[in-house]
């Protein structure tokens, strides 16, 4: 059997629906049609009345979920693309995220964001929005990079008492495959060393984990061993795992597919600089997408985002310091 990243997301939702009667799914075209990416395929048939087509109303979709969650349900809301969640952002940042601290009542809901660039998807179907959601208090922001994590982290997200933004990477949907779904899970709020190495730490998340691993392999030929840390969840950030890795390697590159100003890569570098200053043998470095909208043409897109080649180049700079 072979399971894709998308299958994992679908299966996790199926399992959640089957095991918890308070779970339901709400989103545009998620019902009979099975969603724009087919992440909810056949679920409406299997769970009648619990996989519900919404109007094109992102603000109301999230607001509805907030109310349902406060009333004891565990809604999963699918955005058709992460980029459209800007119009539902207020309900997430100011309502879902503030409810627990303001009122003591939990707001357990999951907002699924099909995120990240793919060739030809352009400025409005390519965004990675974890930085926006992570900046505001009260939200857990997950960014799974593997088939296994897509499955187990989504299951954990549904069970959490807090609002979770679940950033799925569209580029991984169909291409990333695994033999089977995992039996056990690494806790969602923990980062993980996905490749061990002694020379430099590359901290990243989501699709960039694969670019980083590819870069690490490239550098083997040059005699370098790159340790790759997959953040898995960017808010809260598992600083301990990052620092432990930097303690081993003395060097840091933080990579994000999102824009450079103030995202997860800035947060990682700022924390390591502040809390692990003495561990560093070289200046920590960041690599992000360019600071423009995400381009449509594949030529431009390939130059806009970090790739294995560009990550390898950045790693060399850190290594050669």
């Amino acid at each position: 059997m072979s399971v894709t990243y998308l299958d994992a997301i679908r299966s996790a939702q199926e399992k959640a629906l089957a095991s918890d009667p308070t779970v339901f799914i709400y989103g545009q075209d998620v019902g009979r049609f099975g969603g724009a990416f087919k992440a909810t395929k056949n679920l409406a048939e299997r769970f009648p009345g619990r996989v519900i087509d919404s109007p094109i109303s992102e603000d109301a979709m999230v607001g509805m979920a907030v109310g349902a969650a406060m009333e004891g349900m565990r809604p999963i809301v699918e955005m058709q693309f992460a980029d459209f969640s800007t119009v539902g952002l207020n309900q997430m940042l100011n309502h879902a995220a503030t409810t627990y601290w303001r009122t003591g009542r939990t707001c357990p809901m999951v907002l699924r964001l099909p995120s990240g660039g793919t060739p030809g998807s352009g400025p409005f179907h390519s965004q990675s929005m974890e930085a926006i959601y992570s900046h505001y208090p009260g939200i857990v922001v997950m960014t799974p990079a593997t088939v296994e994590d897509a499955y187990t982290m989504l299951l954990e997200a549904v069970e959490m008492p807090d609002p979770v933004v679940f950033c799925e990477h569209k580029l991984l949907y169909y291409h990333l495959k695994s033999d089977h779904l995992p039996e056990s899970a690494v806790p969602a709020l923990r980062a993980q060393v996905v490749r061990a190495g002694r020379d430099v730490t590359c901290v990243t998340y989501s699709a960039m984990v694969h670019e980083a691993v590819a870069a690490a392999k490239e550098l083997v030929e040059e005699g370098y061993e790159v340790e790759v840390v997959d953040l898995r969840t960017v808010k809260p950030l598992d600083t301990d795992t990052i620092l432990a890795s930097v303690a081993r390697t003395g060097r840091l590159l933080a990579v994000g597919e999102s824009w450079p100003w103030g995202g997860a890569s800035a947060e990682v570098v700022a924390r390591v600089a502040a809390e692990g200053f003495e561990l560093l043998d070289a200046p920590p470095k960041r690599l992000n997408a360019k600071d423009t909208p995400i381009p449509y043409h594949p030529n431009l897109w390939a130059a806009h985002r970090p790739t294995a080649v560009r990550i390898a180049a950045a790693l060399r700079e850190v290594l050669r310091y």
Binding site: S54, A60, G63, M64, M70, E71, N94, T98
Partner: protein
């Protein structure tokens, strides 16, 4: 449909009007007197931030609270002290929010009108106008999925709030789902200083009902009897499965937007018109006309006593202490800290 509704209205007038009007009258008086007290506390510097009153809107707001039952859900907005009290919010909780008492449902973390307690069926509002419509719709969807039947949700908004995308999306979603939701729009002619003609171009906001595919009701918001009847009718229809109801009441805000605002921008012609009547005075004089002046006086006296007792009680309550505060915005965060693994 119209005939059935009218018959129902007559029946309800015969059976329960007096009790209902007593609940409404008392709520109006309690709200008015409590809000007058809040104004004084604000001017005395005892309330930090702002104070936002519903003076002149007690009949419409209160009628909503009176029309609901236990088990229903109320999502009030800025000017709904009367509705809150009628529905069962303790006066103390209102004061606790304003005075920042640690014992209130908001524990001093949020304040003034941004309060509620879902265990009492009251959703705590966020400031963003229009946001509560879809949230209340979500509560009702949840109740439907859980199999809780015949529970109604009622939420309030101003004329200005109808211009928000949230209001539109929320009401449309509720209409698609045919939820038992009543949306009460208090059209007081202004949104802060902005008059209706800069807010919308339709003749009457109730004209929007048809475009949402929901039932619409107009009401004179200065007449407590009419408010009680129309709101009860709307709530009953929602409960009876007729889908969302849009009630638009015309009235005037007889105070500033907040207590910092003198409201001088309000057209004096409107102030002198029927729309500018004070619903509390309307009720008082009608009660007197009906020979119930004494009853009214006793309600007022009881309300005044309640206000004073509540102020004394809440004033003595502890305020929050930053060192004892749990500064975790997530429950999983708190749990992590508790288990020492932050």
């Amino acid at each position: 449909m119209a005939i059935r509704a009218a018959a129902a209205a007559v029946r309800s007038i015969q059976e329960g009007t007096d009790a209902r009007m007593e609940r409404l009258g008392r709520a109006m008086l309690r709200a008015r007197l409590l809000e007058e007290k809040l104004g004084s506390l604000y001017r005395a510097g005892r309330i930090v931030g702002g104070v936002y009153l519903g003076r002149g809107q007690e009949a419409l707001s209160g009628a909503g609270g009176v029309a609901l039952r236990k088990g229903d859900i109320f999502a009030p907005l800025i000017r709904d002290m009367a509705g809150r009290l009628a529905f069962g919010e303790p006066m103390e909780d209102a004061l606790r929010a304003y005075l920042g008492s640690r014992l209130g449902p908001m524990k001093g973390r949020d304040g003034n009108i941004h309060r509620g307690d879902l265990s009492r069926g009251i959703l705590p509002m966020i400031s963003h106008l229009g946001a509560m419509v879809s949230t209340l719709a979500g509560v009702l969807m949840a109740k439907r999925m859980k199999g809780e039947k015949r529970k109604v949700g009622l939420t309030c908004a101003g004329d200005g709030a109808t211009s928000t995308g949230s209001f539109h999306e929320g009401l449309n979603l509720a209409a698609v789902e045919r939820l038992p939701l009543v949306v009460v729009v208090a059209d007081n002619g202004y949104a802060y200083s902005t008059p209706n003609e800069r807010q919308f171009a339709c003749a009457d906001l109730v004209d929007r009902a048809r475009g949402y595919g929901v039932q619409g009701h107009s009401v004179d918001g200065t007449d407590p009897w009419v408010c009680a009847e129309v709101l009860q009718g709307a709530v009953d229809r929602a409960r009876g499965g007729e889908g969302p109801q849009l009630v638009v009441g015309k009235l005037l805000r007889l105070c500033g937007h907040g207590e910092h605002d003198d409201g001088l921008y309000v057209d004096s012609k409107i102030q002198r018109s029927e729309r500018g009547r004070d619903c509390v005075q309307v009720m008082e004089s009608e009660m007197k006309k009906r020979g119930s002046g004494k009853e009214w006086q006793s309600w007022r006296a009881e309300a005044q006593a309640e206000v004073e007792a509540a102020v004394i009680k809440v004033s003595a309550e502890p305020v929050p202490d930053p060192f004892e505060e749990d500064w975790s915005a997530t429950k999983s965060g708190s749990e992590a800290e508790e288990s020492g693994s932050s």
